[in-house]
Symmetry: C2
Subunit: 406 residues, 2 copies
């Protein structure tokens, strides 16, 4: 009998708690596993010995269902970057001590490519020191920019929110008789997957968004204005989808801020393009930032995404029981229609600190739209809705007391 | 036998097409009514003789269901302000001519308080000139700021979107171990109803939003910063809901823009407060603007709102058949629990060009929160979900070809 531990890391998505459910329920049905500990705030909780016994918090079938429809991370998160063990052996010792004193034989880390770096480092340390603690990564990110996997848990729900909302904005933008340009800024600093996914609206007969710009494509203000002018000749209400990370030339991005942590603050591309359009054409212009709603709008999550997120958590546990460590569970697409995937594992070093970009071959020759291959790729990921449990007309969330998460 | 005409006006909501359905289905079942004409772009279509025969577009039961889940206005909209008949009799003559040549005996105008001004002027003109065309107003606005009615069609769906989204942002904002302040800017230039409605999250056990600021309350930057400091002492992740129209002092609103039409551009209160908090405290700060999604997110509409919007459209038709004109259909609340309303009519001049503000008696003594009376008022309006029809994993919308709406 072993115990296991699970932690959540990185930016929120709608599917991280789904993967936690997968780990939890697979542990419940595995006779070799006893307790399931949740580490508070990712790896920080393991370092600080801040765990909760999940079986005391997840006690009913309803809890399981609520977890699947609760966005973000019920165990908190972190952006902690583990140093190498030669630089900071003290921290590694503390991690091992805290895991061992709870007889934890496997640790599951749900996170993005930074977290997979932690999986790689920790698993190597365990192997090098003959410590029998398996370390397994469960991917998640709305950016869909992890290598090796067909797509990432959390992405399909983000696509469903973004495309549903863009369609509603298309309706909203086309009511007046005066001409207008609407610019929708979508998350993706380096990878344009989420912005590109708005193309699936074409499968439902929409002509908009009329222009789609990704960080992976060429971009110039002159070309952008020319594109908008061309579309205005054809449509009264032009709708543009643009990635926050699109390559604006220096002068146009001079309003860029740097946040408290020294990160370049990229939000605002939409607003800057809005000002550029307003300066050069006479029409109503507005920009809309979909902001954090893209990563937390569980009320319109994709059932396919949530089901797959649970599955990949379960498969992570199975992999550890097979003796795997330093591995990350990933999706292989078997077919588009009927849609089918299988879960495999790859070495964490194939994923850690790497990014997967939207294929250039799926961007059109003008760098202002994507091809039909993209529609075929995205469509299966948004299928199905979960039967939301409501309370007082509002989706019910699974919550852990604020004081426990401090 | 008469024909009737219907038009939609003002800013989009999730319920305007619901009221169109109400008018349409009540006409179908009324043997005195033959054709139902839709005027394109509100009263502009009546002036320009731009009508469509709705029975040629709404042909199946599915069309009816799709209309109810399609946001915005399928007939387009306008912001046309009708002059008085003494100033511009030419326009009135054209309206009468265009209605009479189609044997239109009743005209239904779905819109906000500006549109009710049109209802008043037109109905007076008809009466003064002995023209037997009834003019009836059907209210709508997400702002809930119309007089005489308990609430407005469209408001409940906006509340459901806003509160659902704010709850998700609360989850999103509370994941990291570092302290944060999240400021959510909500629509309402003069009336704080929608911002105030976030209080219903308390019924589901949320402590956030920790601070709620409305245009109807007192506001000062010093007091605001003091409030945020107080809340930071109690909560790791402070969430603030603020109306776009909150009374910022002159200097703080110096970034105010004026839009193409000379309207003061009020969006940006959230961003300005974000900068003010960042300048005076060391913590992560962000602002989120819920933008047009507040008025068009039909995918999370309130069934109560949609049902009532259909009902009020039906009751408008009944009122015209009783001989009423220059009247607006409104809701009277009969009881909170069990929730019950009835539809009555009032004279358009009681509603036109007037605003109803959030009651001062429901604002707390510090002007930073609302009382439990507000929760009791708001809760019934968000109850129930409609069974969304999906296509390719995305809500299906009712659409009329772009070329027809030009």
């Amino acid at each position: 009998m072993i115990n296991i531990a699970v932690a959540q890391s990185g930016g929120p998505t709608c599917a991280i708690n789904g993967s936690l459910v997968g780990v939890f329920v697979e542990a419940l049905r595995t006779k070799e596993i006893d307790a399931v500990f949740g580490s508070i705030n990712g790896i920080e909780g393991v370092i600080k010995d801040n765990f909760i016994d999940l079986k005391r918090f997840i006690t009913t079938n309803e809890d399981i269902e609520l977890l699947k429809q609760t966005p973000s991370t019920i165990l908190g998160s972190c952006r902690y970057k583990l140093k190498s063990s030669t630089e900071d052996e003290e921290t590694y010792n503390r991690i091992v001590e805290n895991l061992q004193k709870r007889r934890i034989g496997a640790f599951f880390y749900i996170g993005g490519n930074d977290s997979m770096d932690t999986v790689e480092k920790l698993s190597n340390y365990m192997l090098d020191n003959n410590i029998d603690i398996k370390v397994i990564g469960i991917p998640k990110t709305i950016d869909n920019d992890l290598c090796c996997t067909d797509h990432t848990p959390g992405f399909g729900s983000a696509v469903k929110y973004v495309t549903t909302t863009v369609q509603e904005i298309i309706r909203d933008s086309s009511v007046y008789s005066i001409d207008s340009v609407t610019i929708i800024e979508i998350m993706g600093r380096h990878a344009g997957w989420l912005t590109a996914s708005t193309c699936i609206l074409r499968a439902n007969g929409e002509t908009a968004p009329h222009l789609i710009y990704l960080p992976e494509g060429d971009f110039s203000i002159d070309k952008f204005l020319e594109d908008v002018r061309d579309q205005r000749a054809k449509h009264k209400a032009v709708v543009v989808a643009v990635s926050e990370g699109v390559n604006l030339p220096e002068d146009a991005s001079s309003e860029t801020l740097v946040d408290n942590f020294g990160h370049r603050y990229l939000s605002g591309v939409g607003k800057r393009l809005e000002n550029i359009v307003r300066d050069s054409m006479h029409c109503k212009v507005r920009s809309i930032e979909l902001n954090v709603m893209q990563r937390c709008s569980s009320h319109i999550c994709s059932k396919t995404d949530i089901d797959e997120s649970v599955l990949i958590g379960e498969m992570g546990v199975k992999a550890s029981l097979r003796g795997e460590t330093g591995r990350v569970a990933i999706f292989k697409r078997v077919s588009d229609v009927p849609y089918s995937i299988r879960v495999e594992t790859v070495s964490a070093n194939q994923i850690a600190n790497k990014e997967k970009f939207f294929p250039k071959s799926w961007i059109n020759e003008y760098s202002n739209d994507v091809t039909d291959d993209a529609i075929k790729y995205f469509l299966p990921l948004v299928q199905g809705e979960i039967n939301l449990k409501m309370e007082n007309g509002i989706p019910k969330h699974f919550k852990i007391q604020e004081s426990i998460l401090r």
